[in-house]
């Protein structure tokens, strides 16, 4: 909502406050002023000029040489390039020394040999947006609609010496979508009275009913309809003040009839429509639901096909308007119109919302109906329009109106006790202050038995319950007056749940391990939504995605995380290690999805880059595996790894992460083809179901005394087939080593020169320990021999 402060002063005394201060007061009271726009910014020394002569420039087709009376008998020659310049016009002249927006300063100039003492201006050159300039002046200079004394100051004549407040209205404050509504708000803030427009015009002795009949067949969607008839009007340009007020409000002027309906819309917040009486052809207005398949061509020259839930205004036969949304082309007011029917009606918000949504049509009218107009302004608005038409178009207003009225216009009563208000606010506002605020708001209030009985004007549809009154009192009393206290609830312990606490542990562990936390989008393309998912389900698509790329809920974190990796390597960060925790979305049992919190890790490049001491360790499977193992250890349970395959991963370098026999994740090197596709070098990826891990209860920590006896270690090196996995050998060792064997660790792997084809050498370090005593060599040897025997029996060859 754009509010001209100059216009506003017509209804309420703004106490000479500078507009910025007024805006600040409005903001602090609850309606946010988004911008304070000075319409005269960068404008100076503009005067009205009268074109006394106008002839073609001898050297340039498109230029005219004008003699312009600029006041005080001074005639200046000005060259003008506008196609619509003509002798006898009153125009806007920027004389040498004048300022125009963008810091333009007007100087004397010579154009093709002819002197030019300034410039004749278009409205755009004064900083007015093209879309607000009357259509006939868009391509040229602005011609004042009435003769004006040359030399008159343009800024005040065009009301450009004005500041506009741009209000950012929340949906509840539909009342402020009108100048009068804003006036009431400002009046309440400044403790000033509101002056309503004077309604004095003469009605003809001929009655409206003599020319028009009215029928409403849809009382639910249209409980109130008022029609007035004005005849013998002259359709022409509106006077300057009206055009400028509309432009300040962000509305383009058309002609006096249309402008009046828009003016009243802005003034009262009540949408109006004007029909050309003769085009109606029937002398009848019938409001009804549309018939299936019925068609109407609206004012924007679009043919629209209707259905029964669209409300239409008809001439008794055919639709002439889409009720409350847009008029029909067949009844549009034109230059030839002499009689108009003014419609002022109350259409239900639901009906308008539906129609406006179906036809993708939003107008100043529909947006007000959708939020609810004031039932008590429907009739006054019609009268106000009639008055303005008689004033500005020389119209004769026929007596009376055609009215269909089943609308409840009662004012709502809200009862609330002063104690309730104070207890909700934590304040002690005296009763008289509350009463004062309510009277400033023009809420008739009766105070009795510790109860305020408040009669809420119908313009304030948002005031319905006690709490709404609490807000009204508080915002006008001043939120600054509210003290700062802390809740006096019973002491609560609060704190993280075990799940949340463990999630933080996981994060800190991974960050300590050198990974950067990433965040990616949950929405992906349908195609990549299930890539890398261990157990993909049917995908979940949005009803109306904004793009295919963000159409489907992901089932794995890896695709987007790998994209982030590639984003970095493409920018020459070759070594990157990222992790992300976040939800993946599987089809579940009920209508909601089965959301699982996952953890994913991706890494590429060097894991350790310490070249000058000869340490350069590229990322590989085992770096990632070590992180996963460390994580499991931190969380207090054991994971195992099972060779596996997954699309997109290297078939020889992939393992499933197992927890008690269940697959909970995967770890693997990206398949070379996948790497190439993603423009990545060797990359390791991990994804696991974090929720499963974090939901598991961890065993209590049990302390064992620090050993009093030393442990003894023995090494064994084996020659094995390359296909034999270390884990299987370790199992043999552990089984044979029995109770005395405390630990087994791989310490060497050799597959190079000197080894037989297809063989490798694997060396283990075994630690023997007895908590009861120091082991003797004999005891260790006996135990170790058993291990060796078991290994040889299993086919391993000692090295």
């Amino acid at each position: 909502m754009l509010v001209s402060t100059k216009w506003l002063k017509e209804y309420v005394n703004t106490q000479q406050l500078p507009p910025a201060q007024l805006g600040e007061k409005i903001t602090r009271a609850g309606i946010e002023v988004d911008a304070v726009i000075d319409r005269s910014e960068d404008l100076a020394n503009l005067v009205v000029g009268y074109v006394t002569e106008c002839s073609k420039h001898p050297e340039a087709d498109k230029l005219s040489i004008c003699q312009v009376d600029v006041g005080a008998g001074e005639i200046d020659q000005i060259i003008c390039g506008a196609p619509n310049i003509a002798k006898g016009q009153s125009v806007i002249v920027a004389r040498p020394g004048a300022l125009l927006p963008g810091g333009m300063k007007i100087k004397k100039a010579k154009l093709r040999g002819e002197e030019s003492n300034g410039m004749i201006c278009s409205l755009q050159e004064l900083g007015i947006e093209s879309k607000l300039v009357p259509k006939s002046y868009v391509e040229g200079i602005y011609v004042l609609p009435e003769p004006v004394e040359p030399g008159t100051d343009v800024l005040s004549y065009l009301d450009l010496d004005d500041t506009v407040l741009e209000l950012g209205l929340t949906p509840n404050r539909a009342d402020a979508m009108s100048m009068l509504g804003v006036a009431y708000e400002v009046g309440a803030i400044l403790e000033e009275e509101v002056t309503l427009p004077k309604m004095d015009y003469k009605e003809s002795t001929d009655r409206a009913e003599s020319m028009l009949t009215l029928e409403v067949d849809a009382p639910e969607a249209n409980p109130l309809y008022v029609a007035k008839v004005v005849r013998n009007i002259e359709v022409k340009e509106s006077p300057v003040w009206l055009q400028q007020r509309l432009m300040a409000a962000g509305v383009r002027p058309h002609n006096n009839v249309v402008d009046v309906t828009n003016y009243v819309l802005m003034e009262y917040g009540q949408p109006l429509h004007a029909f050309d009486y003769d085009s109606l052809g029937t002398g009848n207005i019938t409001v009804r639901q549309a018939k299936e398949g019925e068609k109407i061509t609206t004012l924007d020259d679009t043919e629209r096909t209707l259905s029964p839930h669209h409300l239409v205004i008809t001439n008794g036969k055919d639709p002439v308007a889409l009720a409350g949304v847009m008029g029909g082309a067949n009844s549009e007011v034109s230059d030839k119109t002499t009689t108009v029917v003014i419609e002022s009606a109350y259409f239900s918000a639901d009906s308008i919302r539906r129609t406006s949504k179906d036809h993708n049509l939003r107008s100043d009218a529909s947006s007000r109906y959708e939020k609810g107009v004031d039932p008590n302004r429907v009739i006054p608005a019609a009268e106000r329009a009639a008055q303005l038409l008689s004033e500005l178009a020389g119209g004769e207003v026929l007596g009376g109106s055609l009215v269909f009225d089943e609308l409840d216009k009662q004012e709502r009563i809200v009862k609330v006790s002063p104690d309730f208000i104070n207890s909700r606010l934590g304040m002690k506002i005296p009763l008289e202050d509350m009463l004062d605020i309510l009277s400033r708001l023009k809420f008739n209030t009766e105070a009795a038995n510790n109860q305020l009985i408040i009669q809420v004007p119908t313009r304030r549809q948002d005031i319905q319950i006690e709490e709404d009154v609490v807000e009204e009192i508080a915002r006008l009393y001043g939120y600054d007056e509210i003290p700062a206290t802390l809740p006096r609830t019973d002491a609560t312990l609060g704190g993280l749940s075990p799940y949340q606490a463990k999630r933080r542990i996981v994060r800190h562990f991974l960050e300590g391990a050198g990974l950067l936390q990433a965040t990616t989008y949950s929405l992906s393309s349908e195609q990549s939504a299930t890539q890398f998912a261990l157990e993909p389900t049917e995908t979940t698509r949005l009803l109306m995605p904004m793009s295919e790329e963000r159409s489907t809920l992901r089932q794995s974190l890896l695709p987007h995380l790998l994209e982030s990796l590639a984003y970095n390597t493409a920018r020459r960060t070759d070594s990157v290690a990222l992790y992300e925790t976040g939800a993946v979305f599987m089809k579940g049992q009920d209508e909601l999805l089965d959301e699982q919190e996952h953890l994913a890790i991706v890494m590429t490049g060097l894991w350790l880059d310490h070249g000058w001491q000869g340490e350069k360790k590229p990322v590989d499977f085992f770096v990632a595996k070590g992180i996963v193992e460390g994580l499991a250890e931190k969380l207090g349970f054991e994971l195992s790894f099972e060779r596996g395959e997954l699309d997109g991963l290297h078939p020889g370098r992939t393992a499933f992460i197992m927890l008690d026999g269940t697959r909970i994740g995967v770890i693997g090197e990206l398949h070379p083809a996948e790497q190439k596709k993603r423009d990545l070098k060797s990359t390791i990826a991990v994804e696991l179901n974090l929720a499963t891990l974090l939901t598991l209860e961890t065993d209590a920590l049990i302390y064992t005394p620090v050993p009093r006896y030393p442990s003894i270690s023995r090494d064994v090196a084996l020659v094995l087939s390359k296909r034999v996995e270390a884990q299987s050998i370790e199992q043999v060792i552990r089984k044979a080593g029995a109770k005395l064997l405390k630990d087994v660790r791989v310490f060497d792997l050799y597959e190079g020169e000197g080894m037989e084809e297809g063989k490798k050498s694997l060396a283990f370090s075994l630690t023997y320990f007895d908590p009861e005593k120091t082991l003797t060599d004999e005891e260790v040897n006996a135990a170790h021999d058993k291990v060796i025997n078991a290994l040889t029996e299993s086919g391993a060859e000692l090295r």
Binding site: L425, I482, A484, T485, L493, R507, L516, Q517, S564, E615
Partner: protein, 345 residues
């Protein structure tokens, strides 16, 4: 023999004097005092001496031996020290070379902001509540006093999956779920999480972003409690000397509703580009829980009242660190992420 001894002593002391390394000195020790050395030889030759000479000569030998040994030891101390010094000299490293990098990952800046907020409220006895990102229309809208067709639904265009299921547009459904689950009991929670709205991604808009909300419900919770709580929050997050101001606003799920501004942390209130010359920065929305919301969750709104507040960690991080583009949070450029490494305490 005596002369020989004196000669040997002179010889030995001379060599000790000229020995420059521990090795040379050790050689001298072996050469003169060793089992095959000349002094031992003299000792061995004592047998040939007449018996009465032997004690004197014995004493003399010991004396020479003692003197040589003493001198050797003294020299050894010097040479050993010298050797150590030389070794240390040789071992000197270029301490300006870079260290072996210790692994340093770090949280995402949004996690950093969210956890800072979480920790503050945890310390004030709040719990953290979480809920699904794919939500029922009921919890996302209806239970929050936003029935179907409510004009305020326009404020947040949503990603629907079916007519009744959507990606949550705020974290408020977690509040609705928590209230429903608590069955009329008092509540103090913080709800962080991802939310989604139909927005074209650009420098200031993101179809996915983060929110963190708070909810307190109890007996006689007042608007002053909201103001006090937010004031503690503002000072903790943005500095002790921050002032807050509440402005009336509108949210369907609170009544009265407010927006909170803090005095600008860059200029202190004088006006600058961060606060758009107003001296104030809008930080969050809040209000007293609407009675309809309480009633729908099974609370007696006459007996229990509450307040709620909500804010966007992206906005807070962008303001705090002057981050110019919201998309940075989701592209994961390491040149962005690694900037949020160090602590600010």
């Amino acid at each position: 023999m005596e002369a020989r001894l004196q000669e040997l002593k002179k010889e030995a002391l001379g060599k000790i004097e000229t020995a420059h390394t521990v090795k040379e000195l050790t050689d001298v020790r072996v050469a003169y005092l060793g089992k095959k050395g000349p002094i031992t030889d003299v000792l061995k030759g004592m047998g040939k001496l007449p018996a009465e000479e032997r004690p004197r000569m014995g004493a003399l030998v010991n004396e020479v031996r003692g003197e040589v040994t003493e001198s050797l030891d003294a020299r050894m101390v010097i040479l050993e020290e010298q050797a150590i010094n030389e070794k240390l000299q040789r071992e000197t490293i270029d301490i300006s070379l870079p260290g072996r990098p210790a692994k340093t990952g770090n949280p995402h800046p949004l996690t950093r902001v969210v956890e800072e907020i979480e920790d503050l409220f945890l310390s004030m006895g709040y719990e953290i509540a979480e809920g699904p990102e794919v939500e029922k229309d009921y919890y996302n809208f209806e239970a929050l006093n936003l029935p179907k067709g409510h004009p305020a639904r326009d404020m947040q265009d949503s990603f629907y999956i079916t007519e009744d299921i959507l990606l949550r547009t705020h974290t408020s459904p977690v509040q609705a779920r928590t209230m429903e689950a608590k069955g009329g009991e008092p509540i103090k929670i913080i709800c962080p999480g991802k939310v989604y709205r139909r927005d074209n991604d650009d420098a200031t808009h993101s179809h996915q972003f983060t929110q963190i909300e708070g909810l307190v419900v109890g007996e006689n919770i007042r608007m002053s409690d909201l103001k006090g709580t937010l004031s503690v929050f503002a000072k903790k997050m943005f500095g002790e000397d921050r002032e807050i101001r509440l402005r009336p606003s509108f949210f369907p799920f609170t009544e009265p509703s407010v927006e909170m501004d803090i005095s600008c942390f860059k200029c202190g209130g004088d006006g600058c580009n961060v606060c758009k010359k107003t001296g104030w920065i809008e930080i969050l929305g809040a209000g007293m829980v609407h009675p309809n919301v309480l009633e729908m969750a099974g609370y007696d709104s006459k007996r229990l009242t509450g307040f709620a507040f909500g804010m966007g960690p992206e906005r807070i991080a962008m303001l705090k660190y002057a981050i110019e583009d919201i998309r940075h949070f989701y592209t994961n450029d390491v040149r962005f992420l690694t900037q949020f490494q160090r602590t600010e305490l």
